[in-house]
């Protein structure tokens, strides 16, 4: 069971790594913003699977904080990129 969950965490991480390609390639800032959001979601998924597989449920607080901050950071990215708050 734990082994299977760790394998799932590995797959989630591989998905995140694949999404990184979009961050690196772009070409528009919108693509990078979307990739950053996918990174946040995939990272949270990997954290949850790690917590269930091996790390213990204290990691859940880290995933919760990450979820809140990912929402804030995504909004801040869009605002900064569209030059709104300048």
């Amino acid at each position: 069971m734990a082994e299977a969950l760790l394998a799932a965490a590995f797959l989630a991480l591989a998905t995140v790594a694949a999404g990184l390609v979009r961050v690196l390639r772009g070409p528009a800032p919108a693509d990078r913003m979307m990739a950053a959001q996918l990174l946040g979601t995939g990272g949270i998924a990997a954290l949850l699977l790690l917590a269930a597989g091996s790390g213990g449920w204290a990691i859940l607080d880290a995933a919760l904080a990450l979820a809140v901050l990912a929402a804030f950071a995504s909004v801040a990215f869009v605002q900064a990129a569209s030059g709104r708050s300048r």
Binding site: L5, R22, A30, G40, L49, D61, A67, A71, S82
Partner: protein
Amino acid sequence: MSVLADGFTLLCVGAGLVFLLAGTVGLLRFPDAASRLHALTKADGLGLGLIVLGLLPQAAGLLGALKLMAIWGLVLLAGATVGPMIARHATGGSGR
């Protein structure tokens, strides 16, 4: 009972990973920003949602299960609100 719970977990987590992977592939391969955004929100909602659903039987008590649901709720909220903002920015609007 535990075997049933474990089987449920593996099934849901597996399905969630499929959607997560599909969302990422969509992000990489779709031609324009709008369709990529479409793929992204599927990964957010369905992918993470199925993973959370699958981990619920394994959670440590009621508080752990509530935290899992809260995490999924927050990610859904973020996806639902940031998605239109990104789309407006990508199509040249004001981004608000």
